[in-house]
């Protein structure tokens, strides 16, 4: 099977995000719609139900480097959140801890990443963790 090159892969993801074809629990789009390199992205995660995140919307920023998707993107929470895989001072998702980043596969997308983060927020160990005031940012 052929490998879709970075830029065309990102265009596919952009289109999916723009048309709202993805799941409703997350969204993502280019941070700068003029950026021909398509490096910086904004994402949101809708807090999972039956957890302390319910009804909250978390903003994240995603950086897809030149070697994406062979290498995982960098992802950082903008909204304050209390989850073990997120650095409590910078908001960065720790790639050594978070399995989707650690065991990254080329077939994964930004959507995979956002949905997996949402699942992580909803695990029995994490869903009742005390959360910062809604609207606080890193």
């Amino acid at each position: 099977m052929s490998k879709v090159p970075r830029n065309f892969r990102l265009l596919e993801e952009l289109e999916k995000g723009e048309k709202g074809l993805g799941p409703e629990s997350c969204s993502y789009g280019l941070a700068d719609s003029d950026d021909i390199t398509m490096t910086n992205w904004n994402g949101t995660i809708l807090g999972p139900p039956h957890s302390n995140h319910e009804n909250r919307i978390y903003s994240v920023s995603i950086e897809c480097g030149p070697n994406y998707p062979d290498e995982p993107p960098k992802i950082k929470f903008v909204s304050k959140v209390n989850v073990p895989c997120v650095d409590s001072t910078t908001g960065e998702v720790k790639s050594s801890v978070f399995h989707t980043l650690r065991d990254w596969k080329r077939a994964y997308t930004m959507e995979t990443l956002l949905l997996d983060l949402r699942k992580e927020m909803a695990t029995p160990a994490n869903k009742k963790l005390p959360q910062p005031k809604e609207g606080a940012t890193f």
């Binding site: 099977m1 052929s2 879709v4 090159p5 065309f8 265009l11």
Partner: protein, 157 residues
């Protein structure tokens, strides 16, 4: 299926042996379905004297699916958006498997010669084009000069 289809091999060979004037297309060494493309702006168009870089990818279903093509050089054109995406019928609904890399790139070149603001991708550019065609053509010339001038290409290469 596992290896590169004969069609792609033959097309690539023919692009080298029988090049199209004003157009180059070379596959990347590590991905033979991924091409680095340049197109010269057509004469008597606002893109004249410009050399535009593009990228082209042949998806798995090629030739049943159209190649994917995008401008890498900034260009002011009603059918090309800020990210270099191209609104061109043969790349979408009017694709035919009898078309080739060569014919697609010629169509892109033809699109530079005849912009169609009534079927736009870049809405703001198309609006300018309809309201003030002369002004839009002037801007297109300036952008060509600024981002696609041949001298620049040479010095960066």
């Amino acid at each position: 299926m596992a290896s590169l289809p004969k069609r792609i091999i033959k097309e690539t060979e023919r692009l080298v042996s029988d090049p199209v004037p004003g157009i180059t297309a070379e596959p990347h060494e590590d991905n033979l379905r991924y091409f680095q493309v340049t197109i010269e702006g057509p004469q008597q168009s606002p893109y004249e004297n410009g050399v535009f870089n593009l990228e082209l990818f042949l998806p798995d279903d090629y030739p049943m699916e159209a190649p994917k093509v995008r401008f890498l050089t900034k260009i002011y054109h009603p059918n090309i958006d800020k990210l270099g995406r191209i609104c061109l019928d043969v790349l979408k609904t009017n694709w035919s498997p009898a078309l080739q890399i060569r014919t697609v790139l010629l169509s892109v070149q033809a699109l530079l010669a005849s912009p169609n603001p009534n079927d736009p991708l870049a809405n703001d550019v198309a609006e300018d084009w309809i309201k003030d065609e002369e002004g839009a053509i002037k801007t297109a010339r300036e952008w060509t000069e600024a981002y696609a001038s041949k001298k620049d290409q040479k010095s960066t290469n």
